[in-house]
Symmetry: C2
Subunit: 97 residues, 2 copies
DNA sequence: AAACCTGATACCATCGGTGGTATGTCCTGG
DNA sequence: CCAGGACATACCACCGATGGTATCAGGTTT
């Protein structure tokens, strides 16, 4: 190890990673909620119909679409299946452009 | 009967996609774990170093990489940030031709 | 007006992921 | 042989997401 680089990296990020992650997750939850609402209305489904298809409760759908909670991957999978879609989760390297 | 099926199974699950979703989520968790492990080793980081960067515990990293648990979106965000990457979650239409 | 559907909110119980600690195993270096 | 690092597993406590129910507001229909 040259100059304890990972310690440097840690120190550099320690102050913002948690906050940044929380913000990013919240934003992601919001965007996913919007997308699901769009897909649902596109099909003319009510929240109850979608909740039945996904095995969720109607309140859960409402919370999710409002961005009130950060959905879990199993939930996203069920929603994806209900929409006959595929769930894609990827860690993509930030291109240095 | 051995032949049976997947057709029957698929037909039967038309109304309950819970099993399929659980399986898909587990597979997704496994693949994400593999990817994170690859990215971590690529950088020569130990689980402990990554745990420090993400604010997670080393056991949490181990469980995650082994696919033992399905990670939450905030956790994935923190890992993405630690790797200086971006997290992409999308519901893509399956559009079977 | 009443009956109905839709979506949003509140409350509570349960489940699953995580944090923390401790421990076990394997490997490498002293 | 012993010491240390790395990874895995076990146990427990806490927290967040979900399930379920009930309730409320808004709109539509009769």
């Amino acid at each position: 190890m040259a100059t304890t680089s990972w310690n440097d990296v840690k120190a550099a990020r320690n102050g913002d990673s948690a906050v940044e992650a929380a913000y990013a997750a919240a934003q992601l939850a919001f965007e996913l909620g919007e997308q699901v609402r769009a897909m649902r209305e596109e099909r003319g489904w009510s929240q109850r119909q979608l909740s039945a298809l996904t095995g969720m409760s109607q309140p859960a759908i409402a919370r999710f679409e409002a961005g009130g909670t950060t959905p879990t991957l199993p939930i996203l999978e069920r929603i994806a299946i209900a929409f006959d879609s595929t769930l894609s989760v990827q860690l993509k390297p930030k291109e240095v452009a």
